[in-house]
Symmetry: C2
Subunit: 231 residues, 2 copies
């Protein structure tokens, strides 16, 4: 063994990613310097450019690492539901669980940075950084298509346009749910029960209530379930 014990490249890589993830959520992309990241990770400043090429490429890898896995799990959950249903429309609640529950589960992992990452992701949906937005859009394209189709079939009496909007609203609610107690200090000290295990059912009932709410007046209800024009 003539090799230096410190030449552990793969570990350096992940140490940088972990440090970057934690600092980005705390200070934003522009507010976090390479020097902060490397000193936090206990590696040399030049290591970032060696392993990732640039700060932008590092940012991208922070997202790719987690998002690929998250969306893979989401699609697996949806595949399973569809296989069980055998062609029949799914229950809306199961679809919503497959998409948002998977995310909430990742957010509940405080051990391996899942919580940190989900806070960062929530922040980033409304983030101005153009190239991150572009990257997220690509990363989400397939999973979004699949879940929207499933919802269209599951709730045929609600027009697609309204499902689209409501799905959008749901993502906003989830984002705040995860940012939750640590994020904004608006509700600081107000929550008595911030048990992470209860966040999931709390959010789920809210989301489903919103998804199945009576339609706004201007919308024509479509299929079955007695075609009243809402109140």
């Amino acid at each position: 063994m003539t090799e230096n014990i410190n030449k552990s490249a793969p570990e350096t890589r992940s140490r940088i990613l972990d440090a970057a993830e934690a600092l980005f959520v705390e200070h934003g992309f522009d507010g976090t310097s390479m020097r902060q990241i490397t000193s936090h990770a206990g590696v040399n400043l030049a290591a970032v450019n060696y392993h990732f090429g640039s700060k932008d490429a590092l940012i991208q890898e922070v997202f790719r690492r987690r998002l690929t896995e998250l969306n893979r799990q989401r699609l697996m959950a949806l595949d399973r539901l569809e296989a069980e249903a055998g062609g029949a429309p799914l229950k809306p609640s199961r679809i919503v669980e497959a998409f948002f529950g998977t995310a909430i589960a990742l957010a509940a992992d405080t051990e391996h940075g899942g919580h940190t990452f989900m806070r960062l992701l929530g922040r980033t949906y409304t983030d101005p950084n153009a190239f991150v937005r572009q990257f997220l859009a690509e990363e989400y394209a397939e999973v979004l298509e699949r879940f929207l189709d499933a919802l269209y079939r599951a709730v045929p009496e609600v027009p697609r346009e309204e499902i689209l909007w409501r799905f959008h609203f749901m993502m906003g609610a989830m984002s705040y749910a995860i940012a939750g107690t640590d994020g904004l200090q608006l509700f600081a000290g107000k929550f008595d029960d911030a048990d992470p295990a209860r966040l999931m059912p709390r959010l789920m009932s809210f989301l489903l209530g919103g998804l199945r709410a009576p339609l706004p007046e201007f919308v024509e209800r479509r299929g079955k379930k007695g075609g009243r024009e809402a109140a």
Copy 2:
């Protein structure tokens, strides 16, 4: 008239605020430089420090200018509702309208920067910048207290803790609703109908559906309306 025609101080001030507001929402606080702001506003670089003292003070003034007025309108709307009700609990839908409708109305104003500001505000709830968070928390303290109290009275069968969470979720949904079509590109090109006038009823029906949704299983329903323990 010996005075220089360009010595129009109040206009310089608001030109800077307008430019800062627009640039902040597009590139974030750290991503926006004083040089960008002043050149966009057509004023001298040093004018910002002369009028506001520092970049942080400028950021604060960007929010204060709009938020004071927004929250004043919210409280006025709530006062009116309570005066009309004369001591009786309010309808939840009216309370939600008074809080979120006022914000949506401001977001619908694309002429005087209201839309821009509301996008910025939505972004900022989950923003990491510590001093902005602190400032927002102070600015919101009273209005939040008043509206939460009104909701507690309006929906007594839902425990306060759950109302708190649901109000939090509602703010997330609103934030995404406003960021909406221009914000994230996830749903880019998917919306057929992005009519701002319809955003309000769309969001309202979603929010009320979520607020009044069946409670999660672990929650004990409280007052009237037949105390079942949810499904």
